[in-house]
């Protein structure tokens, strides 16, 4: 790691102020992405602002029709929360598949979404459930939040505070994990909320998480795995790397979408 200054934020306001003051700085949440990055010297911010101690940022609650999860809530808490398991079981199940137990004990939903790794799980849930990302400055619908590889709509000193997930009628998530890291080689999140049907794919797209309109249309008519028969996504625009070719990923999108739909139906 390069040298950096360390600040511990007391609350969100304090964190925002520290971020602004420190200039070239980064928020530190669970550190499960940031610390490995720093260790490999792939980043060298002058300062870290630790929001690990900010109480108001963590917690899970049902508010009206939304399941609200604080940004500092750990993956393990989401995976085991009774509230989440009841409201959106697919979301709890998704959290349970992230990395490994130690990563889940530390990593946070806010960090995952802010990082927007093209193979991360939570972005699929956000897009697949039509979530709203609440920040220290505004509310951003998921459709406008994820901007590309590791790119989001977040401004420099903007902090995610909560994620609001509309509770769907049903939802399902299926992923083909990379056997080493458990990141998604391809993961598909599907949900149905009245007439709003969503299919979001992670792990596959060159530009990160994306929706598949054709699948959504088919599922609107008939929310079942069978409805997806014969619908194929094209390899163009999908990732090709040492783990899988674009063709293989395209195939996996079809298979995972069906599994997700089957688990949701």
């Amino acid at each position: 790691m390069y040298k950096f200054a360390y600040h511990k934020a007391k609350n969100v306001k304090d964190a925002a102020a520290l971020l602004k003051k420190a200039g070239d700085s980064k928020l530190l949440a669970g550190g499960q992405t940031l610390i490995p990055t720093l260790k490999l010297r792939l980043a060298g911010p002058a300062a870290l602002v630790d929001i690990g101690g900010v109480k108001e940022l963590s917690g899970i609650a049902l508010k009206g029709k939304d399941l609200v999860i604080g940004a500092m809530t750990r993956h393990a808490e989401v995976a085991t929360s009774k509230v989440v398991r009841k409201a959106i079981p697919a979301l709890a199940a998704l959290a349970e598949t992230i990395g490994d137990p130690a990563v889940r004990n530390q990593g946070t939903i806010g960090g995952s979404i802010a990082n927007n790794d093209p193979a991360a799980d939570y972005p699929a849930a956000c897009l697949g459930l039509g979530a709203t990302i609440v920040t220290s400055k505004r509310k951003i619908p998921a459709d406008k939040f994820f901007k590309g590889l590791f790119e989001t709509a977040l401004g420099d000193d903007e902090i995610i505070t909560e994620v609001h997930f509309p509770v769907p009628k049903s939802a399902g998530y299926a992923k083909f994990p990379n056997p080493a890291s458990r990141y998604a080689l391809v993961g598909v999140f599907v949900s149905r909320n009245g007439s709003d049907v969503r299919v979001a794919v992670t792990g596959a797209g060159e530009g990160g998480v994306f929706r598949v309109a054709e699948m959504e249309k088919a599922l609107q008519k008939d929310f079942s795995a069978k409805a997806l028969d014969g619908i194929a996504v094209k390899p163009r625009g999908l990732n090709s790397d040492i783990h899988a070719s674009a063709e293989y990923r395209a195939h996996l999108v079809g298979v995972m979408a069906k599994r997700a739909a089957a688990s949701a139906a």
Binding site: Y2, K3, L40, R41
Partner: protein, 624 residues
Amino acid sequence: MSASSIGAPVRRTEDRRFITGRGQYTDDIRRPYQTHAYFLRSPHAHATIKGVDAKKASKMPGVLAIYTGEDIAKDKVGDLICGWMVLSKDGSQMKAGRHPALAQGKVRYVGDSVAVVIAETPDQAKDAASAIKVDYGVLPAVADAAKARDPGAPQIHENAPRNTIYEWALGDAAAVDAAFKRARHVTKLDFINNRLIPNAIEPRAAIGEYDQGTESFTLWTTSQNPHVARLVMSAFIGIAPEHKFRVIAPDVGGGFGSKIFIYPEETVCIWASKKVGRPVRWTAERNESFQADAHGRDHVTHAELAVDERGKILALKVKTTANIGAYMSTFSSAVPTFLYAPLLSGQYEIPAIYCEVDGVYTNTAPVDAYRGAGRPEACFVIERVVEVAAREIRMDPAEFRKRNFIKSFPYQTPVASLYDAGDYPGALDKALQLHDYRNFGKRKAESERNGKLRGIGLSSYIEACGVAPSSLAGMLGCGVGLWESAEIAVTPTGMVEVLTGCHSHGQGHETTFAQLVSAKLGIPMEHINVVHGDTDKVQFGMGTYGSRSGPVGMSAIVKAVDKVIAKGKKVAAHVLEAAEGDIEFKDGKFQVAGTDKSAEFGAIALQAYIAHKFPTAEIEPGLK
């Protein structure tokens, strides 16, 4: 507490320290005033070093010294060596290029060390390394063994034209050619045995320390064979005279071959410890393990199998290009030759075999022994080609194997190995039975009906373990003998110290060896302590690799125990006032045959040390 018998299920003695976090691995050792080394490695596969500018870096906080290949050369530190001479078909010696511990003038693979920074903390060393400016002249590189000898391929070492280290062969080419002429069917196969990275879970590490008072060196290192490391570093690299050089390999977290070799990093740590006048330590980061541990395998092979009309194998022809990497690691030459070709007969009766192996340089990390070293590569060749041949002639692969298995022993293969015994058809039949091979077709059809695929694979394997004896090793060009040492030291209270030249890095020698001695001496395992991995304690040893600790190391222990018993009989005869020939040793007791006069092992040990009334011309005091 009672004696253990060989084969009895016992709990491992070494486990207590590992499960409580009290193991002592190299990186766990702290030395007073220690400093930390960080190696600046080449990001290029092949480049000239036009200049290294360390001015700024050397002024950074905590930096004590920065050294490059020039400093190594100035101090006349010898090159790293390959300790096994392999001759080409034409009788010429292998062409080993120079391998300085820090690159001189040129880097030859990604990970080749260009400079070392020694600083007060690891972070400071790393900070400074990133401030060193190296002016590289990037050269074309070749990584693929199959392309290393292409016209126009970059030349990696001046003394190895066409990047060729040797063109070695084993077997009878003429006999093979003649057999191929008679063949009904010839199977031809090209394949790659891919390179891999050993990745022991404990990264390599080293601590070098120089004692100005006694002018002696100590090296703690993650080694499978500390004595060989000391020998090579003193005799060839010339760092310190052997008697002033102690090498300690404490607990080691797995080796898989990769910790046999003598590497640049430990060489630099021990050399630099004298220069900076303080202990110098280094522990690899995992990404350094990937870059700079010796890799395994990496063969490109063409094989042909000649078969007659009855499905009998007539001959095998193999041509392998072995990727040795950018430098010849310690035993790299032997792995794709002597450890490979002699097993190409597998379990099969093959009247004629001819194998050619070309060792080539490429711009990749050095390749050396890894798990099985050469032998799994040979197995892969013979089993693949046998399987494909069976399919091509439409014979059941199990039947084809059985038809060609060696059935009478001893059997002399055409590739030097002599097999003493075996029941290959019996073993295969057992496996087929366990697997219900006969009904596989039914299961496959059923799977197909369910939209699934089902396959089956067969393989047989023969392994040459123990890598010995010394006479053969010498004949084949090995630079050291492959014997093993053992010493049994009995204390006056009858406790036993077993000193072995083998090294345990997960094998459990402390238990197994103690169990052997316990069974032989009839004393509890708790009274036995196995000592290994320290050149100051153990006289000499070849270390642990190639499954040799059991067959070779334990054989040495048995011999040493026998000597202790023989000496014990002498002492017992004296103590029990009987003739030496009348003394029997059984169940931990020396007994006068046919009488009830006896003495416990411990009692005799004590007498051996008290030695008050010994006829010292006949019996020396002590029990060793």
